[in-house]
Assembly symmetry: C4
Homo-oligomer: 271 residues x 4
């Protein structure tokens, strides 16, 4: 059976387990890394002053390459709207838009770093099913404990609002505690044990209250750890393989190796 | 059977699983969030100077609304004293008092942020029994390891008192170590890995001692984590559902979905 | 059988589960807390200038009380040397020595805070066997993972020596990296995620290396947690009760409730 | 059977469970610690000015001792290239090279701290097989979760690139956010909860974003902990003893006590 050029392009761009598909993905990731480096270096004033023009040209070269790639993806996929609406489809579009936007709004081209999200494709390239399994084991554990983490974070928010306001009253605007929002910001910095030190209590009562907040933070850091560890131990027992193949129609991955039809759009997987 | 107006008000205010009860709770949480934002913004000087009057009026509007709500709760519950003495009853009262207090003592209205505690009602509104289960799983794990955490915190207190005093002797008042209480404050800041940097050892001996404290802190952060994780794994095995309905008599929640009578006051649950 | 005055004094001072013994221990802990507060407040210059004389008298009152108590303990115990050589015997002696030492060497009385170690007696007073069990569960888990923690800390020391020196070479004495010991101190501050900010890398290469150290520190904080959690889960399964009674001969505790003879000195437990 | 001098030297230098071998290893570690201290003290300017000459001589004494030791190792091992290419062989060579290099390039002798890696030999000296088992249990748990940790760190890198760039756009170069690489450095400092405070957000929007990053960092610190804890619990079940004896041919250790032949080079273990 002779394959159409669309099928060949699809195999190169979307598959990660054929030689040409793997090569394409590796080249793509190299381009993404280089384009991110270009944006980064452009933000360093000393480099921007010297090599600004070269970096500007490079940035547009990558943007044009990614634009061509985006339209090729739309063309070769059977259901372009399904791809365009998927997570990777949106990321791929957002990765080229800021360049065109920067013609109108200066400085917006720094948003190009959103391309970093495209680097997550690496897991598909690594081919080894285990990496995908590990990644999905991690995200499964995160997903399973989603509700517990929401409850935890909500309680943290209530806690920092009350503690931050108390500190504002206690410190009476001194030591950087100039408003309640700023005091809440300090409470978050302290509770998460980050501790910048740009705001720090100066009065004895404030330092006692701060000590209390730190010890509370020290104790409750155990909670998210406990949540995730429990889930991870569970998921470690029942591991399942996931195929590296993406659907030829909608371009979404994460299917079982036994899957005959895409679990998102219902089209046949192996042509 | 015709229901009295008290029963209807009770259903609206106390129930979370009837349409009207859910709507009321959502509106209430919106009001709480807005009233907290009002207090917060009022503490920012630049905003207070410009919109101070409007914020002052808003604050009183919310206070009057919450006052009406508080008296309605007292009126429609069959045992008002049981409600007034419960956790939520006290929080509800504390949420309105600071406004009236601010007439006498200026600045006390910042205490209104205690209203943030009322935001914990959200878990009842979310209707999904799982959120309650998660919250109670978290608090169960905390409760079960209460004694272990007390022993741990007590040892931490003994440790920071000794280490802080040693640092005061070693640094001899330099680098911010001006008194033993301040040195103990520093020891807590260091042991919990917060590390503001407002006080930091300057002498070589002090830095060696500080390094020791940090490594100890790094090692013992494992203890609360170990405690909670062990409990969480246990409690993850024996999960039980909890109803979102509150008792019509005493207003307390946390009942089993099969409960016919309140487990706190013994009155009939479903009228 | 008539009991001698020594036996009565022994019961009051050493037992924690008779009414008189419990009262004595509670009074003792109150005195310890007050005496520590005295030393602390004496170190605050503003308070020392005003109430220096009163604090000085109070300190000596507590020292004399503790000296009397120490000699009573030696007198009523059947084997005074066993007590004097035990952990609590040494702590009890160290709790009174600094006062007498301060007559010769000024400032040494701050060492009195070592009295804080005597506060650990609280666990015996709490009477509830569970607290002792929890404390011993914690120390058992620590003890069991002692070797693993030693291996871990040794590797950390090797790591910070190498990383600290590398930063000294990279930063070439800038940004506070004035010597290798100071750079090692910085590496510990960073690896333990304390992060004072008194020393921080200024060169791009130094910041890249620092980022690496932080991410390493973030990853290996999991190791002590993993060690202790694993032990704690194990020890949670096999809990055993421990008596609150101390040996009448050598004064050491931690015996099984079934113990008839002291496991340290072999003398009869229940007289 | 009479043993050759090469066999005797081999036993002294490579074995850790004969009296002479143990003594040699202890002396060696003492020399390593002293030589590292020499390099460290030499980097402290005040000490270097006063004792510079003595430290310089000491440094060369240790270097010559280690050079002799290195050539003795090469001579007495049956397969010198296998030793020279092993981990310890390379470390042993790197431990002497910087001294000779410092004749040509000034300042390179600070690289001598790489000798710290030789301190890892301590685990072989400790003789107790358990220490080796603990070390290998730790490294096994690390090894087993290698892929999960790679996936985790890769996601962290993607996250800090995006968050750092966002902060650069939000803060617009203020508060130390002068370029995207520096903002990414700040994002790492914050996400790992180190928090130096040399760079910290100044605008309200920046502080909100920073709060978000901190809470994210607080939540995901649970991930590596969960990974390692799960592995550690697994590996704690299946412990196996490991001998302290090194192979007389290739010098590599980590063998089972029942091993008759080296598992790396196949030569007889017990001569």
């Amino acid at each position: 059976m002779k394959r159409s050029s669309r099928d060949i392009v699809h195999e190169i761009i979307f598959e990660a387990d054929t030689p040409s598909g793997k090569l394409f993905d590796l080249l793509l990731i190299a381009c993404i890394v280089l384009s991110i480096l270009t944006v980064m270096l452009d933000s360093v004033q000393s480099l921007s002053a010297q090599y600004g023009d070269a970096l500007y040209v490079l940035e547009w070269v990558f943007t044009i390459l990614f634009t061509i790639e985006y339209f090729l993806r739309l063309w070769c996929v059977r259901k372009p709207f399904a791809y365009a609406g998927s997570f990777y489809g949106i990321v791929d579009l957002l990765s080229i838009l800021p360049s065109y936007l920067s013609i109108i709004i200066a400085g917006s081209h720094y948003l190009l770093v959103i391309r970093a999200l495209r680097m997550l494709r690496l897991f598909r390239v690594l081919k080894l099913a285990q990496y995908i399994t590990e990644a999905s084991a991690l995200s499964d554990a995160m997903h399973a404990s989603k509700r517990k983490i929401f409850v935890f974070l909500y309680c943290i928010v209530v806690l920092v609002v009350i503690l931050g306001s108390l500190m504002y009253i206690v410190e009476a605007g001194g030591g950087g505690f100039t408003s309640i929002p700023k005091s809440i910001y300090w409470a978050i910095v302290t509770l998460t044990t980050v501790g910048y030190g740009d705001i720090s209590p100066q009065t004895p009562l404030g330092q006692i209250l701060a000590s209390l907040i730190m010890i509370i933070g020290y104790a409750i850091i155990a909670v998210p750890t406990g949540i995730v560890t429990a889930e991870m131990t569970k998921s470690a027992i029942s591991k399942s393989d996931i195929s590296t193949q993406a659907c030829p129609d909608c371009g979404r991955g994460g299917h079982s190796p036994k899957a005959d039809y895409c679990m998102y759009c219902g089209s046949k997987m192996h042509i």
